[in-house]
């Protein structure tokens, strides 16, 4: 049984926990609370809380909101609601039929055990520049739908990603749905990572004639398929130099456009 030192042991810094049952309730919490963070799958946020890199005063856990986990066809594309787990998208035949690029991309996100909890909308809201799904949304020209006490808003992929871990969502907005258009043209998602499931050193997404890059700028970026590394200034770290990342972009883009 518990040893004395373990009693009351917690990792995250102090926060107040809220568990709304509806989107309206979640939005009213987000509009009234100062420094609140939405908790969906938690596969990015909880590590940040455990390390105390994130210290929000309030956590709004949307996991008990009913009817927010659907993956369905809408307006010639696929809508993925806020609580749809990445694993559900991976297993969805509707997604495989209408947007196989999304099925393929989601399999590159971490590992199945993570995808059992992690959500597509969470990945988009987290806006990690090295993550696959933001680049997929950008290459496809999709959008997200947000809700707040002020109403509903649609944000196009090109407007959504503002910087490293920074999206265009206002603090009182909840992303309720992401929409990925149907794709009948050629597609590919290629990335180079040290190990399966790791974040990519560099990656490319092709959707028809569009090419989006990830892991090589502060946000996912659209690139010219004939000169994909033009103007790129990727960061350098222990894993890869900037020049190596530009090299990867050129090679991966060439392969993707030949697919």
């Amino acid at each position: 049984m518990p040893r004395r030192g373990d009693v009351g042991r917690v990792k995250p810094a102090r926060f107040e926990y809220h568990s709304p049952r509806s989107v309206d309730e979640a939005c009213s919490l987000l509009s009234s609370l100062e420094d609140a963070k939405v908790l969906a799958g938690g596969q990015s946020l909880i590590p940040l809380l455990n390390f105390r890199l994130a210290r929000p005063q309030h956590l709004v856990d949307i996991n008990r909101v009913e009817g927010l986990d659907r993956v369905y066809a809408r307006d010639g594309g696929i809508a993925v609601q806020a609580l749809a787990r990445q694993a559900a998208v991976e297993d969805s035949s509707v997604v495989a039929n209408l947007c196989p690029l999304l099925s393929e991309a989601v399999r590159l996100v971490a590992h199945r055990v993570i995808r059992n909890r992690g959500t597509v909308c969470g990945s988009l809201a987290h806006a990690d520049p090295a993550s696959e799904l933001p680049a997929v949304l950008l290459a496809l020209g999709g959008h997200v739908v947000t809700r707040s006490a002020r109403g509903e808003r649609l944000i196009a992929a090109e407007q959504l990603f503002r910087g490293v871990f920074e999206s265009a969502l206002a603090p009182d907005e909840l992303m309720v749905e992401a929409w990925f258009p149907e794709l009948v043209e050629a597609y590919a998602i290629l990335e180079e990572s040290r190990r399966h499931g790791d974040f990519a050193l560099a990656g490319v997404v092709r959707a028809g004639d569009n090419l989006a890059l990830f892991g090589v700028a502060s946000t996912p970026v659209l690139a010219d398929p004939s000169d994909p590394s033009r103007g790129l200034e990727p960061s350098a770290d222990l894993e890869a130099t900037a020049e190596f990342r530009r090299h990867l972009v050129r090679v991966l883009a060439q392969r993707a456009m030949a697919a």
Binding site: Y17, N50, A87, A110, H111, R112, V113, I114, N116, R117
Partner: protein, 150 residues
Amino acid sequence: MKVNGVDHPAPSDTRRLLSDHLRHDLGLTGTHVGCEHGVCGCCTVLLDGAPVRSCLMLAVQAEGHEVATIESLARDDEPLHPVQQAFHECHGLQCGFCTPGFVMSVVGLLAQHPHPTAQQIEEGIAGNLCRCTGYASIRRAVGRAVELTR
């Protein structure tokens, strides 16, 4: 929440992780804690049958759900679960620290794919780190677990 078939109240501190709750409040120390940011896979448990990282969930989030830990697979004096038996036979462990996480991931993998391909096996264990075995014996153990489950 139900843990291994028994009802337990959620902890009063909402900051308590599910992994810490299992170990320190319920005494279920078979769930190991390695990295606490979702990389090592040691803390993997089943949530409503699907493997998840217990260090990446707040314990209060498991309220109303069913959690299964390594302790649920074979009680004392019961034969080992097929996945445990396979790890035993194939030397799928050395120090054993990562083993509960591997076993729970493999239980989840075989529930999803009862007859996994070699690639599905590799992907199924790719989210768990082992510093002893070099993985070859673990891969064999998964194949053996498939045979034992038949």
